[in-house]
């Protein structure tokens, strides 16, 4: 599904150069649920953003579903994001003046799907995350866990090949975190490939594989026994 080879990324701030990713090699197959772990500032988000084509690597190769990702113009990147990728952020990033349904429907708008179809589909995904009754509520009327579920529904509505979640539980208490992980596990059970960035052990162990990042390289890559989040819900 994804393959990266010798990926490098550094940030220049004034005269300082911060080498964040120093040659990452990594492969994930269809249907995997991978946790990317590491301490704060270890470059987890940087890696995820490059995979999500929100940011660009300085060097290295990246292949997504057999398509080599290189020489990206912003327009091309936008189309790939729209077609291949779904994002879930720590801070939800819902559009505050759009209700839950409209938020979920937004990626479909950029796929040029007609309004009616768009809304039907968005409603279907909202139902899957258990928020059908909340479809017409604004984000400000939802709890943190509900917001993240709306965000997950939005990410899934475009039916991406790859779901990227950057600390999806980072802003949530533990019970709510497990609810969200339960949802992510179910989406993975349905065959979707998911990368989850986290620095929490328990969340990482709800995935099937953990990659440890330190000082810009992968120091450990392990398959783990998946802990089902439903056990805690």
């Amino acid at each position: 599904m994804i393959e990266i080879k010798d990926l490098h990324k550094s940030y220049t701030m004034g005269s300082n150069v911060l080498h964040v990713l120093k040659g990452i090699n990594f492969k994930a197959e269809d249907g995997e649920l991978v946790a990317i772990m590491g301490s704060s500032g270890s470059g987890k988000s940087t890696l995820l953003n490059i995979l999500g084509m929100l940011d660009e690597a300085d060097s290295g190769e990246y292949t997504l579903d057999g398509v080599p990702i290189r020489d990206l113009t912003e327009t091309k990147a936008a189309k790939y994001r729209n077609k291949f990728l779904g994002f879930v952020f720590q801070s939800f990033n819902l559009i505050n003046y759009k209700n839950a349904l409209e938020n979920v429907a937004l990626p479909l708008y950029y796929q040029r799907m007609p309004r009616k179809e768009r809304h039907d589909k968005a409603m279907k995904y909202l139902e899957q995350v258990g928020l059908k009754e909340w479809a017409h509520h604004l984000p400000s009327e939802l709890s943190g866990g509900q917001k993240q579920r709306v965000a997950i529904a939005r990410a899934m509505a475009a039916e991406p090949k790859l779901l990227l979640a950057d600390e999806p539980t980072g802003a949530l208490d533990s019970t709510t975190s497990y609810e969200v992980m339960d949802l992510i596990q179910k989406i993975n059970d349905a065959g979707n490939t998911i990368l989850v960035v986290t620095h929490e052990e328990d969340i990482a162990h709800m995935c099937k594989r953990i990659i440890h990042l330190r000082d810009g390289v992968i120091v450990k890559d392990e398959k783990v026994e998946q802990v089902r989040a439903s056990a805690y819900v």
Binding site: D55, A78, N82
Partner: protein, 420 residues
């Protein structure tokens, strides 16, 4: 261009505009005010234009009055201060020497310039009225609206010096009973019986006209008052294409020549040049029109720049939202289009509301000034002006939207998302 006609695009724009109400309202007010000012001023200027035209509608645009006074220079052995008397024969001299003249009407009058008015009697009613001796051609210079079934004096009246008259509205009211038809009836003017052939609606075409007057054929006047070949003044009209001021000068030159007045004597003949006055007033009205265009455009421009400013702020506020949209697959083009279309849409909405409000105010002013004597009628703004203003607004809205639109996509999506 396809996205312009895509219903989804408009729904998206409507969504973002309608859900940011305060921003939308503030944004709209500037342009609304601009177009409102423009429409109101332009319409009012047009109304004044119409008002002036209406004030002049009963008299030929290129007309003038000329009368004789006394000389202020000695000439050919005559002393200063000689009074000049215009003669019927001057008509031919004027006609022969000045081809620009379309109509020449010698006029005699009793009771208009301080002399005693004529007494008119009908049965047991009587009054004092100004009596005019007109040529039929006078009706071509100053339109006299004659009431039902009546007529103005005509050629036959002149040839036979018929004792017929056309009376004013007030004359009719004072000499006749309310339900009495004056047509065909006789009134006695300075002890001579005249048959009424018409009643004319009062319209001011000369400063000294009133609604209570009596018009008789020039030839009859001559007999009645024994004026011989003397006339009081000339009413003349030049062809539309002629220059009113130049014609006036020519007329005076001819008259000076005929009456042996020094060519530089400016006092010997007096005149009122309606054409010149009309042109001055219309020039004034045009000036106001132009001014309103400038003021209106400047205000619209100011409003649109205001929209640009607010959109710039709003783009900054919405950095994160736009980052999210881009993460979800919005291309830079789509983001730019969203901002520009918001700008155009806001400008247009503001414009349309401004036009409607402006039209409302114009209608109100029209209603309020209808019954008062004020040169203002039927204020309208020509449709091309309105469409032009809308077009200008679309163009300005697009141009001003370009700046925030470019700003919105100049930032990388990842940086936009990181913004708090």
């Amino acid at each position: 261009m396809r996205f312009l006609f895509d219903k989804n695009t408009w729904q998206e724009i409507y969504g973002s505009i309608s859900k940011n109400k305060v921003r939308t309202i503030i944004t709209v007010v500037g342009v609304l005010w601009g177009i409102f000012i423009y429409i109101t001023l332009a319409g009012a200027a047009k109304g004044m234009d119409h008002g002036f035209e209406k004030a002049f509608e009963t008299i030929a645009r290129n007309s003038l009055f000329v009368w004789a006074q006394s000389t202020s220079m000695p000439h050919e052995g005559f002393k200063t201060g000689r009074s000049i008397q215009l003669k019927v024969g001057d008509t031919n001299a004027l006609r022969n020497k000045i081809p620009e003249l379309q109509y020449i009407a010698p006029i005699n009058v009793k009771g208009a310039f301080g002399d005693s008015a004529a007494t008119a009697v009908h049965v047991d009613k009587s009054g004092s009225y100004t009596v005019w001796g007109f040529f039929p051609v006078y009706a071509k210079i100053a339109t006299k609206k004659i009431y039902d079934n009546g007529r103005f004096i005509n050629k036959e009246d002149m040839l036979q010096a018929r004792k017929v008259c056309v009376i004013g509205e007030r004359t009719q009211q004072e000499l006749f009973d309310k339900n009495e038809d004056p047509l065909g009836k006789y009134i006695r003017i300075d002890n001579v019986y005249f048959q009424v052939v018409g009643v004319h609606k009062f319209s001011q075409s000369m400063p000294f006209e009133t609604d209570g007057d009596i018009i008789i054929p020039f030839a009859t006047y001559k007999k009645l008052y024994n004026t011989g070949n003397n006339i009081a003044f000339f009413s003349l009209a030049a062809y539309d294409a002629a220059d009113a001021v130049a014609v006036e000068k020519k007329i005076k030159d001819v008259l000076k020549n005929v009456h042996r007045v020094h060519p530089e004597d400016e006092r010997a003949f007096g005149s009122v040049n309606i054409g010149e006055i009309f042109n001055q007033i219309m020039g004034f009205a045009e000036g106001i029109s132009f001014l309103s265009l400038i003021v209106g455009l400047a205000t619209i421009l100011g409003g649109v720049i205001g929209i640009g400013n607010i959109l710039l702020i709003s783009v900054k506020e919405r950095t994160k939202e736009l980052g999210v949209r881009r993460a979800l697959g919005a291309t830079p083009r789509e983001v730019r289009a969203l901002i520009i279309m918001e700008s155009v849409f806001l400008t247009l909405v503001a414009g349309v509301i401004g036009i409607i409000l402006g039209a409302g105010v114009l209608a109100l002013i029209n209603a309020l000034t209808e019954d008062i004597d004020f040169p203002y009628s039927n204020p309208t703004v020509p449709i091309p002006y309105v469409l032009g203003a809308l077009l200008v607004m679309v163009i300005l809205g697009t141009l001003i939207g370009l700046i925030p639109a470019q700003r919105a996509v100049s930032i990388k999506p990842i940086d936009a998302l990181r913004e708090e």
